[in-house]
């Protein structure tokens, strides 16, 4: 009888061993894994780099399997990094990485990719002439208007309207609460201080927090640039050919127009502007109707005409632009860009 009981206990213990062993594995499962995505908020079609780390498993000896939406797409021993291309806006991808080492330890981690698009578009109120194809940069005292372009969509759903997105605007890292809030996709800011750059950042998040993104734009302060152009009687202002360096001319009279790029003005004859022209050190009273234009009559004079223009703005204490050019009347070559390099410099 004692023998039967002992055998039963031994048998029970023997049968229970695997259960005990199994219970022991369950207690150690899963091991801690950390899954990192770069970038965290990818754009559609953007390649996302994935990496996995663990402080409790030797991943270099582990068999690692990567899967997206349940389908393995990469795997191997020690394969701690992988990449995947983000789908379109609204197409969420569930990522899972599993690892198991030779000692029987195992771990897993999961993450989700919710592709979204975001960009900051901006413009300034700085002056550039009509037909200018370049960007109007932020001159002194400029105002900047920014728009946060956001393309959010819930998984399989339509785009989330701007009214269902909360925008948080920051200027140089400081939140600007007055322009932030639900549906506030655009905002205005004072331009950067002279010699500095402003970083405009916007953080956007869907009202239901299903998707979020962040974008930044750097807007440098730009000194107004004075450019001088020939104002041709038949062709108008020759914007395509600025006067740079010494310029020879066979004409007896030249009409030139100065353009203050990026100045904070509404027009060239803005009443706040003060044009101070000098030719060969002689001050010239500007024309009240067209102060930006100067006509130099050489008559029989041959030689250089050193033109100097100082431009100040009564409404903008930081603006003081100075330009110097030389027209050589009766120049030998008559070449407009005489003495200049191919780039006019």
């Amino acid at each position: 009888m004692m023998l039967r009981i002992s055998f039963s206990i031994i048998l029970a213990c023997t049968l229970a061993l695997p259960l005990a062993a199994s219970a022991q594995l369950t207690l150690s499962y899963p091991r801690q894994l950390t899954l990192t995505l770069s970038p965290e908020n990818p754009a559609p079609g953007e390649t996302v780099r994935l990496s996995v780390q663990s402080y409790t498993m030797d991943l270099d000896r582990s068999t690692i399997t990567w899967s997206a939406n349940g389908t393995p797409f990469a795997g191997g021993v020690g394969l701690k990094e992988a990449s995947i291309v983000a789908g379109p806006v609204g197409a969420a991808t569930r990522l899972r990485v599993q690892a198991s080492d030779p000692d029987g330890n195992a771990g897993a981690a999961e993450a989700s990719i919710q592709p979204s698009e975001m960009d900051i578009l901006w413009s300034t109120d700085s002056y550039v002439p009509s037909f200018h194809h370049g960007r109007a940069l932020a001159g002194t005292n400029a105002k900047v208007r920014a728009y946060a372009f956001v393309s959010f969509a819930r998984a399989g759903g339509p785009r989330i309207p701007e009214s269902d997105i909360i925008y948080r605007w920051l200027r140089n890292g400081t939140a600007v609460t007055s322009v932030s809030g639900r549906g506030k996709s655009s905002a205005s800011f004072p331009g950067p201080a002279p010699l500095r750059s402003d970083t405009i950042t916007v953080e956007a998040e869907a009202v239901d927090k299903s998707v979020s993104a962040r974008a930044s734009a750097t807007i440098p302060a730009t000194e107004p640039v004075l450019a001088l152009y020939e104002n041709h009687p038949l062709f108008g202002i020759l914007f395509h050919r600025a006067i740079v360096g010494d310029v020879n001319t066979d004409e007896h009279e030249e009409k030139v127009t100065a353009i203050p790029y990026f100045a904070h003005i509404s027009s060239l004859n803005d009443p706040t502007l003060s044009y101070e022209w000098r030719v060969n050190d002689m001050p010239i009273t500007p024309d009240s109707e067209e102060p930006e234009t100067l006509t130099i009559t050489a008559d029989e004079y041959t030689g250089p005409a050193d033109i100097e223009l100082s431009l100040t703005n009564a409404a903008d204490i930081f603006m003081r632009s100075l330009g110097r050019w030389r027209l050589v009347f009766g120049g030998e070559t008559g070449i407009f860009f005489g003495g200049s390099s191919v780039f006019g410099e």
């Binding site: 960009d119 194809h133 370049g134 728009y147 041709h232 070449i335 191919v342 006019g344 410099e345």
Partner: protein, 441 residues
């Protein structure tokens, strides 16, 4: 006594009136003399600036002034002098028909209906500054351009070089011009510092072979504008307090339909295909920009690229885009499902034109543009000397196509290709002259 005094006063008054009259006449004559002098100067009688040498004040004599010579110029279908244009002729504007420098003997080119000579591979279509040009869509290839000084419209046969002036409506100082389908012409001028857009159609009725350009004033609110050679519609960008409005309308401004309003941004508008519109932020060296396909919403095309300029593909194939980070210029090709590939040429996308779905032609500066190139180029402060390359976008390769004689020093802008893919036309940014290159040797 009273009569005597009265006569005296009348006499004094008459003398004063006479003096005023003489003075007024003097100032009138002086003003007219100055105007005529200005016109003379504009005609280039004493201008030594290279871009205007031979321009004779922007007239048709400049057309077809080929390096090796091969073209003729006609005025309309008749080509004869007319009373209505006598005054313009007096000013030296629109003179025609006339022989061109180096155009061969009169016998060789007297017959304009059957040109016997071909143009050289590379030739100058117009020495006079040109406001805009485009190949026209239709059965026969024609290059249509608008003179900057006069606003006159010309058609050029790219094969024979024969140029015909079409219009006699004088619009001086045209800064930008566009050619649409159905003889639509847009001309942009400055009035008191503000741009004004004139939209018109070339009249079907002619006088001495020349037609009027019946212009409608689209006003001064339009910032950017573009057209397609196969459409009578136009796309415009206008600034309002609410942002930038992208509007499609008929050429006359009728039937305006707002496509989208973007609350902020500084854009140019491109129209690479009839059903595809691209908004691209205006570029500056070292400033990040983005481009979007524009419908009722924006769809990113290329984002966050420093000094971005872009050339969308009319065939919906790969796109070319360039960056100018302030120090160097790079050109890339982006194809669907592939990583961006950098091309082995240093130029901006604005100097390129697509020839087919995967082949583009790019003008490449011989010298690497210096720092801040793009910003300075837009201001006309720097210029390049370009060489033409063929770009195989599929293989991300570029091969030299044509080397421009260094004496020409051409800084290519606004390139366009004919529907058959045989000719490229472009302007020289140094002087706005118009040029043409035959792609095949």
């Amino acid at each position: 006594m009273n009569h005597e005094r009265l006569f005296k006063y009348i006499g004094i008054a008459a003398i004063v009136f006479l003096l005023f009259g003489i003075t007024g006449w003097y100032w009138y004559i002086k003003g007219e003399t100055a105007a005529l002098g200005a016109a003379d100067r504009a005609r280039g009688f004493s201008i030594g600036i290279p871009s205007f040498l031979g321009s004779r004040g922007s007239n048709s004599a400049n057309s077809g002034a080929t390096p090796s010579g091969s073209a003729t110029v006609q005025e309309g279908a008749g080509g004869a002098a007319s009373g209505s244009s006598a005054f313009l002729r007096f000013l030296g504007i629109g003179e025609a028909p006339m022989r061109l420098p180096g155009a061969g003997t009169p016998e060789e080119s007297a017959s304009t209906s059957a040109p016997t000579r071909k143009t050289p591979r590379f030739w100058r279509v117009s020495l006079a500054p040109v406001a805009g040009a485009s190949f026209t869509a239709g059965s026969s290839t024609r290059l249509r351009y608008i003179e900057r000084g006069t606003g006159y419209v010309f058609d050029v046969n790219p094969e024979s070089g024969e140029a015909v002036r079409l219009t006699n409506t004088l619009t001086p100082k045209v800064y930008e011009a566009f050619v649409g389908a159905g003889d639509v012409i847009l001309e942009r001028i400055l009035e008191e510092g503000r741009s004004v857009t004139l939209a018109g159609k070339i009249s079907t009725t002619t006088e001495d072979g020349l037609a009027q350009l019946q212009n409608a004033n689209l006003g001064g609110e339009i910032g950017e504008i573009t057209v397609r050679a196969d459409s009578e519609d136009i796309l415009t960008l206008t600034e309002t307090a609410g942002g930038t409005n992208l509007v499609r309308s008929r050429w006359s401004g009728a039937g305006a339909e707002r496509i989208i309003t973007v609350p902020a941004g500084d854009f140019r508008v491109l129209w690479p295909a009839a059903n595809r519109i691209v908004l691209v932020e205006k570029a500056a060296s070292g400033i990040a920009g983005s481009a979007f396909t524009a419908t009722a919403a924006l769809t990113p095309l290329v984002t966050d690229v420093l000094g971005l300029t872009i050339l969308p593909n009319p065939a919906d194939g790969p796109i070319l885009f360039s960056s100018d980070d302030g120090a160097r210029v790079r050109l890339f090709v982006r194809a669907a499902g592939a990583s961006d590939a950098e091309l082995p040429i240093t130029t901006i996308a604005e100097k390129c034109v697509w020839g087919s779905a995967t082949v583009a032609y790019c003008a490449v500066p011989q010298q690497i543009p210096g720092a801040g190139f793009l910003t300075k180029w837009y201001r006309g402060e720097v210029h390049t000397e370009d060489v033409w390359y063929t770009v195989d976008a599929g293989a991300a390769k570029a091969d030299k196509l044509f080397t421009i004689d260094s004496a020409q020093a051409i800084d290519v802008e606004s390139p366009a290709i004919d529907p058959g893919g045989s000719y490229i036309t472009f302007q020289n940014a140094r002087d706005k002259s118009l040029w043409m290159l035959r792609i095949a040797e």
